[in-house]
């Protein structure tokens, strides 16, 4: 199979990367009608599979689950999840031949095997849905020409897809139709109906393409979302311990700090997060993040270049073929870091203290979000897509760290994200070595404001505020967040 993106002429590459439309709610006035009375079969019954299925059924649609024979006979968790909620469960052979819409919600890595098993069984003219485009774009999977191929990707964990639906809302969702597989022109209507069925239409829907989704998703997850949060967390913890801060305190500050800090990011963007700092601290955080941006920009660019050329996928798939040799080694290494092994201390850290004593992370987050966004946009990805894959998802990932540190984050995210995260982390730490030598506890571990009188230069502050507020990620973010104001806070602290 050849990398699909690389088979396209430049004109078409740019064309597909540029598909990006924030949809108006009036476009969903047809509700679930395009799927009403159709037979929907979901392949896989993990967190996304089960929760999306519950929502679709509660929206009046006909949902059942196709599982592998071994999962059914062994009464595995996926079988229990589906039957325990009174869904019809059957083998691929039993259910797929009559399905109008087959939704593939298995892990990315299994897509080639699953799609190869599913495709021959699907009836003429049916629709196949993905939640991630890697298989199509990077692995170059060719889908039978009579089938329609769509993508519906809720930008939240499965449990939240369900909890937001039952409270009458939804989660922001990305939809796409694969231009090579839309023989009847029904793809968009079905993707929209699917989106209504899961409640996504209430929280903002971005129409994208398989190509744009993959190239931006990979970039976001390996740089700002997982890579930088991992690097920043480990370096911050090590620095504090080196400087004699209590290890339990340091562990707690790092584990929960990133969640508290990015909660401000979620509600008010980068400037909202920076506004949580005092004026002196904000000026410092601005300077530090400018320096970080300069140091890390080449690395962000390299990641984007490798993603665009297909080099990243190639080496990752090589590792898949090699029994995950690199991945497993890096995973073990992450499990052995001092941060991972030091339990959070039994100390109370106030909400504001997480900002005041962890200025370094605020600077990391600003640098990472802006760099990821800028690099994606430079590469031809539209600002809305770049926003979703950088700023929007950062608090979601931060929440996984708050729950069980980096090990948990890497367990929850996709295989591709985990691989890319380690790749970034390995390259970023040496890059920041000189920078970190200069860092002291005023940036991480102690209150930056301590011993300062708080006075600042007016013009300097005004200039900084203007730079922060006028960054393109803030302009597009303000528009998109309006559609998702009702997003619930996910808080561990």
């Amino acid at each position: 199979m050849a990398n699909y993106f690389n088979t396209l002429p430049l004109r078409e590459q740019l064309n597909q990367l540029g598909v990006c439309e924030f949809m108006d709610s009036s476009e969903f006035s047809d509700g679930v009608n395009a799927l009403k009375g159709k037979k929907i079969v979901i392949v896989g019954c993990g967190a996304q599979g089960l929760n999306q299925g519950l929502n679709l059924r509660d929206s009046g649609l006909d949902v059942s689950y196709a599982l592998r024979k071994e999962a059914i006979e062994g009464k595995r968790d996926s079988w229990k999840n589906a039957t325990g909620n009174n869904f019809t469960v059957g083998t691929y052979e039993e259910l797929l031949p009559t399905a109008d819409l087959v939704i593939n919600l298995t892990p990315d890595k299994q897509h080639t095997a699953v799609v190869n098993a599913v495709m021959p069984l699907m009836k003429q003219g049916a629709t196949l849905s993905y939640s991630h485009g890697f298989n199509i774009v990077e692995e170059g999977m060719q889908i039978r020409k009579d089938l329609t191929v769509i993508m519906v990707a809720p930008k939240s964990p499965g449990s939240e897809v369900r909890s937001e639906y039952v409270r009458g809302f939804g989660v922001p969702t990305l939809i796409a139709v694969h231009p090579e597989n839309d023989p009847q022109g029904k793809g968009l209507a079905e993707a929209k109906a699917y989106c209504v069925g899961t409640g996504g239409h209430k929280a903002g829907v971005l129409r994208s393409s398989f190509v744009a989704e993959v190239k931006s998703d990979l970039m976001g997850e390996q740089t700002i979302l997982c890579g930088l949060l991992q690097t920043g967390s480990i370096l911050s913890f090590d620095k504090m311990v080196e400087k004699g801060i209590d290890a339990g305190y340091a562990s707690k500050l790092v584990q929960y700090g990133v969640e508290v800090i990015t909660e401000a990011l979620k509600h008010g963007g980068v400037s909202g997060m920076m506004d949580r700092l005092s004026n002196v601290a904000k000026i410092k955080a601005f300077d530090v993040s400018e320096e970080l941006k300069e140091i890390m920009r080449p690395l962000f660019q390299k990641h984007q270049d490798d993603i665009m050329s297909g080099e990243f996928s190639r080496i990752m798939m090589e590792d898949w073929a090699n029994g995950d040799k690199n991945l497993l080694a890096w995973r073990a290494e992450t499990g052995e870091t001092a941060f991972e092994k030091t339990p959070a201390g039994d100390v109370k850290i106030g909400e504001q203290e997480y900002f005041d004593n962890y200025l370094l992370m605020v600077a990391f987050v600003r640098a990472g979000v802006e760099l990821a966004f800028e690099t994606m946009v430079e590469a031809g990805i539209k600002p809305e897509s770049a926003y979703y894959e950088s700023l929007h998802e950062t608090p979601l990932i931060a929440n996984t760290i708050a729950r069980k540190k980096l090990f948990e984050m890497n367990r929850v995210i996709s295989d591709t994200a985990e691989y890319g995260c380690y790749l970034f982390d390995q390259a970023c730490k040496p890059l920041l070595a000189d920078f970190m030598k200069k860092v002291d506890t005023d940036l991480v571990g102690k209150n930056f404001n301590e011993g300062k009188d708080g006075s600042v230069d007016n013009t300097q502050l005004v200039t900084i505020n203007e730079i922060l507020r006028n960054h393109p990620v803030e302009i597009v973010g303000t528009k998109l967040r309006k559609a998702m104001t009702a997003m619930k806070a996910i808080k561990t602290v």
């Binding site: 679930v32 039952v166 806070a489």
Partner: protein, 489 residues
């Protein structure tokens, strides 16, 4: 006279920036067990939390525990509202979650929770086993915390307290959510531990109390006022003379005369069957009382009617004339129904204001996601005025006292003048005045022909309009009867 166990001097406590306790003095001497009563919002729970060390205050609070006693020298506080957390320490649940079957368990089991508690306080598990049997809780040992109803959570907290036997035990609203039998058993158990030396403070608005309670007080204008007995001043049965908004007087338009029809409905989780062969019919305009012991299946039954139960789809039943699972969405069902239950309240959005909470009733959503047209927002204002909540309308719901929160949720429930009103223990946590006011209101509201299903354990807490009764026992229908022919318990 011996030294007081607790001595409180010049206590001042704020609740949401408002001073609720003002220069309060209180001595609790050995041998005394107190009832603390008073209307909702007077600061009873705040005072309890001060004694338990869970609330900041100014003034003096000193303890002299009995050093010779074998009982733990500590205060233990049972909240009226217990917020459990999942395994990862997050309390981010939604109320339909307990009906969903998911293999990856999110919360601890009852057994594990109790074992953790026993370990933390170095208690013998055999003592807990006796309590589990006494309060009929053995069958819940393997249930996860998420699956418990509010009454069952209450029991679990009581079991912990009775097991620990601290020198001072404070129980906030011990009876809310308990069925009649459990209530009697609890009183016996409280008397038993009192005889062993545990001193009690019970916060309640009941007149029937365990006999060990020998001191009575209420909080009035921020101060402690001693009372001769648990009897409160007689309350006026008249509700304030505000006029019911006109839009609530309109008779509901029924799409079908058949509101609910269940044919041999069964619900089980794995091996455990919670509803067995339920047959039940509710017709338009009927006023039903639904009763049954804790764990008898009441809330599961109601969740089926409200479109909240995933197992609905494999059962044979009809709602508003349509077969369930015939292509309708849960929102199609919910638009006919107004529902309030302790569990629903428990998981309600704490970031909404009073106004937003009530307005969200138009969309059956938890949280308000849409702009209201003028015609609807005037209805919200009218109803807020009717309930006397105008001063609170911009406050966050979660900052109000429990009793007021319930009124807000009732307002939310009726804002769309639904065909079917489901009130599952709506008066839990309300004081006597509020309960009577509330039930009067239910009578008045439902006189327009609205269908009603009401869950309540105690006769004194029921509205007068109820005419039919269904009783569940261990997941089965034990009895269906007309109330006129029988008398209530």
């Amino acid at each position: 006279m011996s030294e007081p166990l607790v001595s409180i001097q010049n206590l001042n406590v704020k609740y949401q920036h408002k001073l609720v306790i003002r220069d309060l003095n209180w001595d609790i001497f050995p041998g005394e067990s107190w009832l603390l009563t008073g209307s909702s919002g007077t600061g009873k729970s705040s005072l309890a939390k001060v004694i338990a060390g869970l609330q900041s205050y100014s003034g003096n609070v000193t303890f002299s525990f009995n050093t010779k006693s074998a009982l733990p020298a500590r205060v233990f506080y049972v909240e009226s509202w217990y917020q459990f957390k999942n395994i990862e320490g997050v309390a981010n649940f939604y109320y339909q979650q307990r009906y969903t079957s998911l293999q990856a368990k999110d919360t601890l089991s009852v057994g594990a929770e109790l074992r953790n508690f026993g370990k933390e306080h170095q208690l013998e598990f055999t003592a807990a086993e006796k309590l589990l049997i006494e309060l009929q809780f053995v069958t819940f040992m393997n249930s996860s915390l998420l699956e418990l109803s509010s009454g069952e959570h209450k029991k679990l907290q009581l079991i912990k307290a009775l097991w620990l036997k601290p020198q001072l035990l404070i129980i906030d609203q011990p009876y809310t959510g308990l069925d009649v039998l459990s209530r009697v058993k609890l009183d016996h158990l409280l008397n038993d531990i009192s005889a062993e030396g545990v001193q009690l403070i019970i916060i309640a608005n009941d007149t029937e109390l365990p006999s060990c309670i020998n001191r009575f007080a209420r909080i009035r204008e921020g101060q402690l006022e001693r009372l001769p007995s648990a009897k409160l001043d007689p309350v006026s049965m008249e509700r304030p003379g505000r006029k019911l908004p006109d839009f609530l007087k309109e008779a509901p338009v029924y799409p079908s005369d058949e509101i609910v029809r269940m044919i041999n409905v069964n619900i089980s989780y794995g091996e455990k069957q919670v509803l067995k062969n339920i047959n039940w019919e509710v017709r338009a305009g009927e006023k039903w009382l639904l009763q049954g012991h804790n764990g008898s299946g009441k809330s599961t039954l109601l969740s089926l009617i409200n479109g909240d139960h995933p197992q609905s789809y494999a059962n044979d039943f009809y709602l508003f004339g349509n077969k369930r699972g015939s292509g309708e969405s849960i929102w199609d069902i919910k638009q006919h129904i107004g529902i309030i239950s302790p569990e629903f309240h428990w998981y309600f959005d704490s970031s909404s204001t009073v106004w937003q909470s009530i307005a969200s009733g138009f969309f059956d959503s938890v949280g308000l996601f849409k702009q209201l047209p003028f015609s609807k927002s005037t209805k919200v204002d009218e109803l807020i005025n009717f309930f006397g909540l105008t001063d609170d309308k911009n406050d966050l719901l979660s900052t109000l006292p429990l009793g007021k929160q319930r009124l807000v949720l009732l307002a939310r429930t009726i804002i769309k003048n639904p065909e079917l009103l489901i009130l599952d223990e709506p008066c839990q946590g309300l004081d006597l005045h509020q309960t009577q006011y509330f039930n009067k209101l239910v009578d008045e509201l439902s006189s327009n022909g609205m269908t009603l299903i009401y869950v309540g354990h105690f006769e004194s807490d029921l509205p007068a309009c109820l005419e039919k009764r269904i009783i569940l026992e261990n997941g089965e229908v034990k009895k269906v009867e007309t109330i006129a022919e029988s008398c209530l318990i």
